[in-house]
Symmetry: C2
Subunit: 176 residues, 2 copies
């Protein structure tokens, strides 16, 4: 995408929030997302954590600045709109959160083919005490899945379906 | 360790905080840790996140209840005391946080032999905007490292120094 193709209103917003460096850090992203989400009544969230925002920046950062420039932030915004849409359509009881059953279908629609073991890990990790997944956890989960699928693809150079790791590689990759 | 060997004062405290089920959930653990830590002035923390508490319970849970019983909680307390001690001794400028340089030495003392790539990932993941690591992040990091080393050992049954994973195994293991 060309910077000239970005909607002028979006560009103006980006300039306003990105500050002097014209880049959005995980700290700035956390503020923006929490600001935007608290105005919505249709989806529940207890706030995006810094960790989730770091993972989002890690996924969307293409030029290695560890921050998001205009085009990277635009791509993120498009992704969040898509995920918000999936979240709302699969929240069949309009609870504002997702049950583990609703989650399974939402993940499939988002393009993640995962088995029951993965679903179980996801629910154990992202659900609250009532087994519900709110919007920030949902985004955190999808971003993490996308990152992990991408990492696997990069590591599996010969497309063998398997990766081989030593301890330092394993720790380095999985610690995030 | 035998339950009878646990200090009666500790046992009394455990009964008080664990409630009816005599087990401590990640939610209860979060409350306890944040309660205890806010009384300390020598180490900084912005509060233990639920995610960190889940990882702690995941590491210390031996009987698969996803909660901590008396002996599991006692083992955790001993571990936290040890890590608090390491944190304070390596916080050479008494800032209440750890710099990346201080962290490298603290990790070695805690028994984690990790290379520069891992240190870089750890700092990127656990440090704040000023590259400082506070106490809850330090505990989160050590718990994560211990979990990852343990997972590797379990997977590397023949002690070959390498593990082989397919995509579902990779996602399942790394998502936490």
């Amino acid at each position: 995408m060309d910077p000239n193709e970005v909607d002028p209103h979006f560009k103006h917003l980006f300039i306003k929030i990105s500050g002097n460096d014209s880049e959005i850090s995980p700290f700035e992203l956390q503020e923006i997302l929490n600001d935007v989400m608290k105005k919505r009544l249709d989806v529940k969230t207890d706030g995006f954590s810094l960790q989730t925002c770091r993972q989002i920046v890690g996924l969307m950062d293409r030029d290695g600045t560890s921050k998001l420039g205009l085009l990277e932030f635009h791509a993120l915004w498009t992704k969040i709109q898509k995920y918000l849409d999936i979240f709302r359509r699969h929240d069949s009881d309009s609870s504002g959160t997702m049950s583990s059953h609703e989650l399974r279908e939402a993940l499939t629609e988002a393009g993640f083919q995962v088995n029951s073991d993965v679903i179980q890990e996801v629910v154990g990790h992202y659900a609250d005490a009532h087994y519900a997944i709110d919007f920030d956890s949902f985004i955190g989960c999808l971003v993490r899945l996308e990152t992990l699928f991408k990492m696997f693809k990069t590591l599996d150079k010969k497309n063998s379906g398997k990766i081989v790791l030593d301890i330092q590689q394993w720790v380095c990759l999985a610690i995030n």
